[in-house]
Symmetry: C2
Subunit: 217 residues, 2 copies
């Protein structure tokens, strides 16, 4: 028979998985808002972020209560502390999606990005959504193979980020300095989004198997 | 009489304070390396960062052991979990100093920054060092007034960051796109460094007094 305690542990896990899912939605919408200069979708990402912040606070409190009332043994203790940290990463992913949405809003109604840059950012957006979904799946399954996929996606993100820099550093960059500043920040936001997703996967797998993939940094 | 348990709690606190001090040194040297195109000091920041990463891991492990063996009561439990998170912020501060040092190394032997930008970055560096020292002091003292100073310094950092953007967005920006990309990233690194210092102070004060200053984000 399942105990209330184990139900609460499971609720922490599903709560974290839900946060990863919401971060996926946020970065998907933020990317859409950016690529199509769609103010309403950008504003939706911005207003939805509060929900993620509240979920983070609620899960942190739930984790504290478990730690305080149950004095869990070593394995479960590590799992709870690991979840505490993962909810921070998931919230940061949402925060980075928020930053992308704010750039879209700031530049509205202009198209933020030229076509060549747009294509790269669109791919970064797709990879970011994949990463957040993979992090959610790893949280639920603790599957090391799914976590390996996270590393693979992160490599793809790093390649895209490097490609973006190649475009920026081209002496013929035709879009001006203001656009270069936006693109530099956007590249950083997507790259950090990926880092946090990888970090969640790394912690979950370490927690489940005792084996650590390489650090996300 | 002090117990071994309380000695270990104190060791966590001083370990975290030391990390803040090391982050202060790292950002001070990274800024020096950047402003004076000094490769050796930039490389020192890069190689020293491993120490901070190791200290983080050691403190995390020490915190886990305290949680596992002592099953601390609510107040001390929160203090330990709060320290666990603060060591992550302190390590990130070092990581951001590392990023600054890497830009200095990448551009060496060129001077990365034009004079007008240099002056702003120099100030950002000074404020960052102050913030890391203030975070260290707050960790040791839990003094809310010292924490208020953190907020004040963070406001100064945000003003400097805005000023940097004004320079970048000037249609007459004369330093080219590559320099704009560097300056954009540098601005972001110093600003994030400040956010992490403020977050440490916020957590310590909340932990000590139950009152939360506004969130750092």
């Amino acid at each position: 028979m399942r105990s209330d305690y184990h139900d609460r542990l499971d609720a922490l896990t599903t709560g974290l998985a839900d946060m990863c899912g919401l971060a996926a939605t946020a970065i998907e919408r933020a990317t859409d808002g950016l690529l199509h200069a769609d103010l309403s979708i950008a504003e939706r990402v911005i207003s939805d972020h509060d929900d993620l912040v509240e979920r983070k606070a609620a899960l942190e409190e739930a984790a504290f209560i478990l730690l305080a009332l149950q004095a869990p043994v070593a394995g479960e203790l590590r799992a709870i502390v690991s979840t505490l940290r993962n909810v921070s990463d998931a919230e940061r992913m949402g925060g980075l999606a928020l930053h992308v949405a704010k750039i879209a809003r700031l530049r509205h109604p202009s198209q933020v990005l030229a076509d060549d840059v747009s294509a790269v950012i669109a791919e970064m957006g797709t990879v970011a959504v994949d990463l957040a979904h993979a992090a959610r799946d790893v949280v639920l399954s603790a599957d090391p193979e799914r976590a390996a996929r996270l590393r693979h996606d992160d490599d793809a993100m790093n390649d895209l980020h490097r490609h973006l820099f190649t475009l920026l550093m081209d002496r013929q960059w035709p879009h001006g300095v203001a656009a270069a500043v936006d693109v530099t920040l956007l590249g950083r936001f997507y790259e950090r989004f990926a880092d946090h997703a990888v970090e969640i996967g790394r912690r979950v797998v370490f927690q489940a198997t005792g084996e650590t993939p390489d650090s996300a940094d």
